[in-house]
């Protein structure tokens, strides 16, 4: 009954939004988890969802995680993601100054305005972008886009491009295992034991690969990063100001909000680094401006914080455009979303997006989600002190255990429990070896390999074959 309610259209959409908001809130609170891992953890509830429900769930998750991420960055000085660094720097100082509650509220209210600005930008651009795509979206264009994304990933992320290329190559090789339709072949037929283990023909399943080669190294990295972590502040989070006072406080920083929104909307198209670039660039600009004007406060600058956090949120809808129109993901979490959409046998391209008015509906939901996020999550912020009860280690272990259980669950759903488990166990040592690399690149390669290969083969056949 509940399940059917969750997946029927109108009520289902609303429930997906609420689930996405709660998931996003949790995702931002637990360091190292992030949206990519959270999406995997909640995949079982998305197994029967419609395309739009999956998308609206993701928008809520991505948007609200920025909000809760800035809460723990401000209160505990813990960066959820690289885009939270300005919140750690300024938010922490503001918190120690005793205005942490206003720092959080101004960033949150600013984000709502940011969502409005990016919605206007997206809806104004959509007709032009759609017309362009309809005219020019050939295999040659697709080939160029796919390789641009691949090269961007290898150049922009991680420590060294050589290491990235190696990690990308490993992801591609793992993804090649099994049979392929386009072109039609079985990878390393004489080397891999397909006859003995016929399930290998179907390729390595996504879930165990992700747990072994992305989640495990990520949690390991986070554990090393926070091994000496102690909750710095002895001060408990307290907020006895009225809502009206919070709004008045934010009003003082309205121009920073607008500048941050504009930054976010402009850089949202940068593959895989848009939120980091948006928040850090917006922060640097606002800080420089404050120093020049003599308004920057070294004990915590609210303008810089608000601009950075607003830019973060403003990015989200803009960076969805390439995914919805071209099927090209712009973030790690979007790559995962795309693979889950494929797993659910949905098709995502500009025709589907335009025919079903997905973008317009998502844009409207995006604003509502941001408003609802404040209403739903605001009361929960008061309980943020409860997080001190859990150590980082406990959170890491909790996440890891849930994901291992999910490997069993997803395996059992496909009548392949042991296959899933064995693949995870066999790949874990590789995950350990790769723990100091950017394994998001491996994940992206694993997910995009099939599309990349198709585009490359067709491009070659059209032009040279």
């Amino acid at each position: 009954m509940i399940e059917s309610l969750f997946h029927t259209t109108a009520m289902g959409d609303l429930l997906h939004v609420v689930a996405g908001i709660l998931a996003g809130f949790l995702s931002g609170l637990v360091p190292g988890v992030g949206n990519t891992i959270m999406l995997f953890m909640l995949y079982p509830i998305l197994m029967d969802s419609t395309l739009f429900q999956m998308l609206v769930f993701y928008v809520a998750l991505a948007s609200v995680s920025q909000f809760s991420g800035s809460v723990i960055a401000t209160v505990f000085g813990v960066p959820g993601e690289s885009s939270s660094l300005p919140a750690v720097r300024e938010g922490k100082r503001l918190y120690e100054r005793g205005v942490g509650n206003f720092a959080i509220s101004s960033a949150a209210i600013g984000s709502v305005l940011g969502s409005l600005v990016s919605t206007i930008v997206v809806l104004s651009l959509l007709p032009f972008v759609a017309t362009g795509i309809m005219k020019f979206y050939s295999t040659n264009v697709q080939f160029f886009l796919m390789w641009t994304v691949t090269l961007s990933v290898c150049v922009l992320l991680g420590n060294s491009w050589k290491q990235n290329v190696l990690v990308f190559g490993i992801g591609v090789l793992l993804s090649m295992i099994g049979e392929h339709l386009m072109p039609s072949f079985v990878f390393a037929k004489d080397v891999l034991p397909y006859r003995q283990f016929p399930m290998l023909y179907e390729g390595l399943p996504l879930f165990p690969v992700v747990v072994a080669l992305y989640v495990f190294p990520t949690l390991w990295q986070t554990r090393e990063q926070f091994k000496d972590f102690r909750y710095e502040s002895t001060r408990d989070y307290v907020d006895d100001a009225s809502m009206w006072k919070h709004i008045r406080e934010w009003w003082k920083h309205r121009w920073s909000t607008l500048r941050g929104s504009a930054f976010g909307a402009m850089v949202g198209m940068m593959p895989y680094i848009s939120t980091t670039v948006a928040s850090n660039t917006s922060y640097a600009f606002e800080k420089k401006r404050g120093i020049n004007n003599g308004t920057y406060r070294k004990d915590g600058d609210m303008d810089s914080l608000v601009a950075a956090e607003t830019a973060n949120n403003s990015c989200i809808l803009v960076q969805l455009m390439p995914l919805l129109l071209l099927g090209v993901p712009m973030t790690g979490a979007e790559s995962v979303l795309l693979s889950l959409i494929d797993s659910n046998s949905h098709v995502l391209n500009w025709q589907v997006t335009l025919e079903q008015s997905i973008f317009t509906k998502l844009a409207l939901w995006f604003i509502l989600i941001n408003v609802a996020a404040i209403i739903l999550c605001w009361p929960m912020v008061r309980h943020v002190n409860q997080l001190k009860r859990f150590s980082m280690n406990q959170m890491m272990w909790g996440t890891a255990i849930i994901l291992v259980l999910l490997v069993f669950y997803t395996g059992s759903q496909q009548n392949a429990t042991w296959y899933f488990f064995i693949v995870m166990v066999i790949l874990l040592p590789l995950g350990y070896l790769l723990r100091r690399t950017e394994t998001l690149i491996l994940l992206i390669a694993f997910i995009l390999q099939d599309k990349l290969m198709q585009a490359t083969v067709i491009f070659y056949n059209i032009n040279f074959g």
Binding site: T139, S184, E202, I458, N461, I462
Partner: protein
């Protein structure tokens, strides 16, 4: 009546009533498996079949098994009766290239499904005109001609180049829908595809020739006389899974019924001049013709012993 007798009577009555309700409510199950992409004609037909079956009171799901291996495993793991589409070319490509065997025996074979013409199309926006001669001259004027198609055809179209004295290059796509979209976006010069409503109604498409010359188009055998593909029609069959004899009989009847009477399904086939099961059975086509088609398509490249093994559902 003692209290115990009364209670026993109530329990028996409730049990009988519950059993009757369950039996009454139990729906017939018939899933549609799709071991292909979820964007092309197979997917589209599967969805229409499933909806038509539901409208007749069946419990029917579309299961996207995506490929031959997953399809075989689904059939093995699931207890639900179902069927999937299979053409001779699919069986050959899966068995030869991927070592995946689809069991087509009298036990699994359900009915012939459709007999559809294939088409060769050009884009109207290329301004070649409607005249078939002009189109053929345009093809002949090029040194290299690219033709979009799907990956499931065991032919590389190179033979067609002999007619025009040039090179004809087949460009494979994963599914007819992708080939269709790629062609419309200007990827290739020609499109070789199943002749369906989509192709008939596409505003920028001129499918000037088809296998059987349907809908006023030229016949392949007239415009491409030396081409081994000129006689190829898309002869599809439905293969059953997890069915006993009674279920097979029931499935056959309901399939014929929905193909003829379901508004969406009948429009889909009739508007594209595609004969379906009842008509094909009238023509005497069935199980044996599937294997005749496989032998014809294998074109001597498969040994007799391998063919015998395939008929038994084994690779070699």
């Amino acid at each position: 009546m003692t209290l115990i007798q009364r209670l026993a009577a109530i329990v028996i009555a409730l049990t009988i009533s519950a059993m009757a309700t369950t039996a009454f409510a139990e729906k017939k199950v018939l899933d549609v498996l799709v071991p292909y992409s979820n964007t092309g004609n197979n997917w589209k037909q599967a969805v229409m079949f499933s909806e038509a079956l539901k409208s007749k009171g069946y419990d029917s799901e579309v299961v996207h098994t995506a490929n031959c291996f997953k399809n075989n495993r689904h059939i093995k793991d699931s207890k639900r009766p179902g069927f999937y589409f299979l053409a001779a070319t699919d069986l050959i490509v899966n068995a030869k290239n991927k070592e995946c065997m689809q069991k087509v025996s009298k036990k699994t074979y359900l009915v012939p499904h459709i007999y559809r013409s294939n088409a060769v199309c050009v884009r109207k926006s290329d301004n070649i005109g409607n005249n078939t001669k002009a189109i053929l001259a345009w093809i002949g004027s090029k040194d290299r001609v690219t033709m979009a198609s799907t990956h499931m055809l065991p032919d590389d179209f190179s033979e067609l180049g002999n007619q025009f004295g040039n090179t004809v290059k087949k460009v494979e796509y994963k599914g007819s829908s992708k080939a269709f979209k790629g062609f419309n976006a200007g990827d290739t010069d020609l499109l070789y595809i199943g002749y369906t409503n989509r192709e008939i109604n596409a505003p920028n498409l001129n499918c000037f020739a088809t296998t059987d010359g349907v809908n006023g188009t030229a016949k392949f055998s007239e415009v491409f006389p030396g081409w081994n593909m000129s006689k190829l029609v898309f002869f599809n069959h439905l293969i059953g899974a997890n069915m006993n004899g009674k279920q097979k009989k029931d499935a056959r009847n309901i399939i014929i019924e929905v193909l003829e009477n379901d508004p969406k399904l009948s429009a889909y086939y009739n508007n594209a001049f595609i004969p379906t099961t009842a008509e094909l059975e009238k023509r005497g086509l069935g199980f044996d013709d599937f294997w005749v088609d496989v032998t014809a398509w294998a074109d001597g490249s498969v040994s007799d012993s391998t063919m015998k093994a395939w008929k038994k559902g084994k690779l070699k």
